[in-house]
Amino acid sequence: MSWRVPLAHIAIPEEDVQNVLDCLRSGWLTMGPRTGQFEGEFADFVNSPHAVAVSSCTAALHLSCIAAGLGPGDEAIVAGMSFVSTANAVRYTGATPVLCEIGGPQDMNIDVDDVVRRITPKTKAIVAVHFCGYPAKVVELRKICDERGLVLIEDAAQAVGASVAADGTRAGSVGDLACFSLFSKNQLCVGEGGVVTTPSEELATKVRSLRSHAMTSVTWDRHRGYAETYDIMDVGFNYRLDEPRAALALSRLPRLAADIESRRELARTYRRRLAGLDGLELVWSDEDVEHASHFAFPVVLADEPTRDRFRERLSDLGVQTTWYPAVHRFTDYVENFGELSLPNVEAAAQRHCALPMSAHLSQEEIDIVVQSVEEALADLPDAAAA
């Protein structure tokens, strides 16, 4: 059952283990000083004034949608190529996600022209996704939002450390709110966790309040004698991170830039060694690789049956891969929103395949992946005909 090369390696060095154990030994596990410190250091890393740690990126998206003022009757335009939680978060508020197009299989990020076409008087926000860690055109979207009074939310779940402009502007520092994931497979991972960043003190305050049931004080404040009791000002949630996870994130954060560089180097290697193979297309460009933070490495095959056979063959060879289905084709979305047509999203969903990507893939594993890809391509029955 074990893979020769799994999709992602999660290496937890001994220093991380000891930092978590120190936190556990302290006996203080609920949100407190380590969470506060992590928020400060994370905000510095993404170059945003405020960071609020939460239980997941889905929670981050939910709170961001509420902070953006979304509610029943509103619409938010959401990139059609993403994990389902991007669109779900809009629905949690009672608003309607309007799924929009992407560039295509070779550019799986939100299509700015299609966004503009879908703006209606009900539109309140745009949710752009930096898919696989490749920066979406959020600088252009920022202008559009400013002109029309819309809120820009960056789903940066996969893009911590990516640059969205030539000047190095960080993903997550352009939107009114940005949402990051600390899930297992992410560049900065702790298991389950997320972060909201925002330039707005008002939005940060709102998100911070709603993550802990809109209580006017938290357990840590009361433990220190700063507050004796509390009021509840709104209908909030339990979207708190806890201290052991904050300790793990804090321990890992100093290595994040180097880890992203390792991922980038792997992307460069893959591109060099896979370029020109018959039946396989690389996505984005060499230049994009330099700006991306490399959550995943997608490649594109001729069509869906070919992609499926390719994945099956790689699986047989012990190489784990994945792919992202089109959100609008999920049963729940078809039931609620009918049969939408988003040809570029559908083509991308049908044709892409993500190869193993992590900061610690060994040379031997890279060789296995590349050789397996070559073998899988050679075995495709229609390769010659195509």
Binding site: V20, T30, S184, D231, P244
Partner: protein, 384 residues
């Protein structure tokens, strides 16, 4: 325990102690590199289900998440009402609002028994009532047997907010195993604690299936299933959430569950010591009865001051003169700003009185007799 400041609290109202075997389990999990919901969570779910006596247990990120999923499983949606206690944490009511439904607050039995009053519940049932949520205050069993009969006769669901369990019993069954679903908390101050976490226990296959799917975005397979080659892709069925627990927390909970009965036994012993000495004092009463202690989970030690509105003064005295931290379980949910604005005009006289007299005094399983004696001496001093 983390020292909050140099001097306070000398005796906290709760304290969480992590043992070496907990640390070893977490370290081993971290070193394995598999952090997201997988085999350790599945093992813990099975052990927890065995412990509370439910057919299924579904691990989630918090008790709030468990309540949300339990209400959804009971079919609660826009236009529906759910009867909830106001004398508990606000999550019980908030999760009703997540479903688009309206929380209808029921009163408690009184200062002597802080459980929800089945007669008041019955009075508040309407055509729109879809479920009743009963909390087990401080881990003392609420009359969920009576409520179960009532709910069954009306064709509505009973949901147990067993955040203050597990380990409490009503007759021969654990609290949390009477309703359609029981919702448990593993928050820091709970009897079984890990930081943040929760569990939904149920005997109903459909409820378990729904909770299992909706805690993970409505996906028909999870990351572990794909890693372990059980499936290669997934569909999304229903509007789901990320309410997953992760492996380090499951590993730690597994170790702590094995010690839970021992911890609860010590909590009960401490409660009886409290009751023996504090019951002699003028100026306070103790809710519940001595004979209830043996069937409670021993979550917290509530005392009721005889004179309403004196909690601030009493608590300040314990804090400033004795370094003792206390809490209030609970400010009444219907009196919070957010609830007064949304649901004005709610009157629950017994809840309101309790919210103005209750003080929660320190209790944790590794509390020493000396520490406890200091607390009791301080209370005697404060009442003088």
């Amino acid at each position: 325990m983390a020292a909050a400041t140099e001097t306070f609290p000398e005796i906290p109202f709760f304290d969480l102690k992590v043992e070496q075997e907990d640390l070893d389990a977490v370290a081993e999990t971290l070193r394995s590199g598999w952090l997201t919901m997988g085999p350790r969570t599945a093992d813990f779910e099975k052990a927890f289900a065995d412990y509370v006596g439910t057919k299924h247990a579904v691990a989630v990120s918090s008790c709030t998440a468990a309540l949300h999923l339990a209400y959804l499983a009971a079919g609660v949606g826009p236009g529906d009402e759910v009867i909830v206690p106001a004398f508990t944490f606000a999550a019980t009511a908030a999760a009703v609002i997540y479903c688009g439904a309206t929380p209808v607050f029921a009163d408690i039995l009184g200062q002597h028994d802080l459980s929800i009053d089945p007669e008041d519940v019955e009075r508040k049932i309407t055509d729109r009532t879809k479920a009743v949520a009963a909390g087990h205050f401080a881990g003392y069993p609420a009359p969920v047997d009576v409520l179960k009969e009532l709910c069954d006769s009306k064709g509505i669901a009973l949901i147990e907010d067993a955040a203050h369990g597990p380990g409490g019993y009503l007759k021969d069954k654990q609290i949390g195993s009477y309703g359609l679903a029981g919702c448990f908390s593993f928050f820091s101050n709970k009897v079984l604690s890990v930081g943040e976490g929760g569990m939904l226990g149920t005997d109903d296959d459909d409820v378990a299936e729904l909770a299992n799917r909706l805690r993970c975005y409505g996906m028909t397979s999870g990351t572990w299933a794909r890693h372990s080659k059980t499936t290669t892709t997934y569909d999304v069925v229903g509007l789901g959430f990320n309410y997953k627990l992760d492996e380090p927390r499951s590993a730690m909970l597994m170790k702590r569950l094995a010690r839970l009965d021992r911890d609860i036994a010590r909590r009960r012993e401490l409660i009886m010591r409290y009751r023996t000495r504090l019951s002699k004092l003028d100026g306070l009463t103790l809710p519940f009865r001595d004979e209830d202690v043996a069937t409670g989970s021993g979550y917290v030690m509530p005392i009721m001051l005889s004179e309403p509105g004196k909690q601030g003064e009493f608590r300040a005295h314990l804090r400033d003169n004795h370094g003792i931290q206390t809490s209030i379980f609970y400010p009444a949910t219907h009196e919070f700003t957010a609830y007064r604005e949304r649901f004005p005009g709610v009157s629950l006289p017994r809840t309101e009185l309790a919210a103005r007299t209750e003080v929660t005094i320190p209790l944790y399983s590794h509390m020493t007799d000396d520490e406890q004696d200091r607390v009791m001496t301080a209370i005697e001093d404060a009442l003088r």
